[in-house]
Symmetry: C2
Subunit: 319 residues, 2 copies
């Protein structure tokens, strides 16, 4: 299975499933569990400091002998230190996002590290290809957390990116099930990056309250907001409504930042500490399709099973 | 081909491709061309008066002996008259949108007319099923024109709707190519409704200026706007920017309506009369993937060809 697949070959993994690096959710426990199950587990560095990232990398290495990755948002204050730590620790894969892929790609590749960059448009994908990355994650509007300004959905984005570049494309945004993974392949992707589905796993470090919210979530429960800062898809809780009200009243960027930073880190408060009303809950539209908390291994098994079942059923539909 | 398909069986057509009914675009010429090419051509009644609709139905019947449909937005002032005309004229298929499917479904079915309702959520799909419709069109956020409030994309919407109901699902929004049609099938749809791609056809009654704009369009050129009235995806022209500015300044619904109705019908002005700066151009995200004006027949041929090519390539990817 997946012997002809460019992502499994590139990364040395069994299934072309990459677990999205998520703040306060994907530490070494989730990353190593996904890697042990045949996907690419990814440590989300965006909520860590350098010492904590180092600790997670070391623990991840002890917990799995398979390839894993670290996701580094390039606009984050520690990104430079993170790059050095990853090189030092010989992390097999770096996924960069929110920034210019030119800055570190060459350096990382000199150390034999595979580099994947997250993009939200064909134009950004072309820039990433020119910068020399090995593959791109193309992430659509339906994804949780930070999002592109053009609001292009996965259904439109993937064929556009596939047409624009020659390196492999990994689809993200709206992928939580095997049929969605198959749809991504139909659009020309060679792999998928899955975020939200992995929040509701045993190994994710999200608070139980947040996991429960995801499995109970319905359609329309998330919305892209904070468009004047960085467009971000959030669960529509009390904090979201506060943001919405402020925006309707014509709040400035500064006023919005103030709402997000009062006293504490709002993402930690919601995702990690479990205050699901006052915290910032970055999550994708797919919460309406997720109904149980599984181990990372069971998630991958279920997705691959459905992917193959639907894939084998398609030829019948074409007749 | 498509012998096991529920949409081709239901509607008596060759390919499970329905041309979206579009104001000022899909009159009898486009509808009959699509039906003659093996899809379901649809007259968009939303920009007509009863006399004009009757004329288009009569001309369509003369131009094709195959099934065709009429799209009726139920909130439209003439919807009651339209229903009577369609019954009288024995129109084979009615596609209703923007309103309650309970009102006319039973009556239409008594006259042997197939009824399809357009929905933007699984909840609305369940209501349509209970109302007795034969199938639903589930339309995602990436679609042009009127759109759902929950902003659910096709990638998430289709599996949700497929899971929620037992009648066949037709995917819409973000479908212009064969690979996108295949993705819709991977998600569980049994047919597709295609709008934007059919605007850029020889037989569409859109103005040449608008057709040219579509084939030159890039990613990010459309945006969902008018959320305080009816969310509508528009091309970002001068009128769009005027709406955006007004919304940023906290315009009321009345003020927005005024911008849209100054002196003339803004949809007609843009789509039909070709004033692409001051008119309202309802169009989907897929304009970035459309690069030529073809006949409706060539469009269908190209989509089916790519659908089958990608479909036959998938088993290789699964290996």
């Amino acid at each position: 299975m997946f012997e002809n697949n460019k992502i499994t070959s590139l990364l040395g993994i069994k299934y072309p499933i990459i677990q999205g690096g998520m703040v306060w959710v994907s530490g070494w426990k989730l990353a190593s569990a996904v890697s042990n199950a045949g996907g690419l587990g990814v440590i989300g560095a965006g909520s860590m400091n350098p010492a904590l990232l180092l600790e997670h990398i070391e623990k991840c290495k002890k917990a799995t002998c398979r390839p894993f990755g670290v996701n580094i948002p390039l606009i984050y204050k520690f990104s430079n230190e993170f790059i050095d730590i990853c090189i030092q620790q010989q992390v097999p894969v770096i996924i960069t996002s929110a920034g210019n892929p030119k800055i570190y790609t060459e350096k990382l590749k000199q150390f034999g590290i595979k580099v994947i960059h997250v993009v939200s448009s064909a134009t950004f994908a072309q820039k990433a290809e020119i910068a020399g990355v090995d593959a791109v994650v193309a992430e659509g509007f339906e994804a949780g957390g930070h999002n592109g300004r053009e609001e292009t959905t996965t259904m439109v984005l993937i064929p556009s990116v596939v047409k624009a570049i020659n390196i492999p494309v990994i689809a993200a945004g709206g992928i939580a099930t095997g049929s969605q993974m198959l749809a991504a392949f139909a659009l020309g992707a060679e792999g998928v990056q899955i975020g939200t589905r992995f929040i509701a796993t045993v190994e994710s470090s999200a608070h139980e309250n947040f996991k429960k919210l995801i499995i109970q979530g319905n359609e329309g429960d998330t919305m892209l907001t904070l468009k004047s800062l960085v467009p971000t898809r959030l669960f529509k809780n009390k904090l979201y409504k506060k943001i919405e009200q402020a925006e309707m009243n014509g709040a400035t960027s500064e006023q919005l930042k103030q709402i997000l930073n009062e006293d504490e880190n709002k993402a930690k408060l919601g995702i990690f500490d479990g205050d699901i009303e006052n915290g910032m809950l970055e999550v994708g539209q797919n919460i309406s399709l997720i109904s149980n908390i599984l181990s990372a291994k069971e998630v991958i098994k279920e997705i691959i099973k459905e992917f193959l079942e639907h894939g084998n059923r398609l030829p019948y539909l074409l007749k």
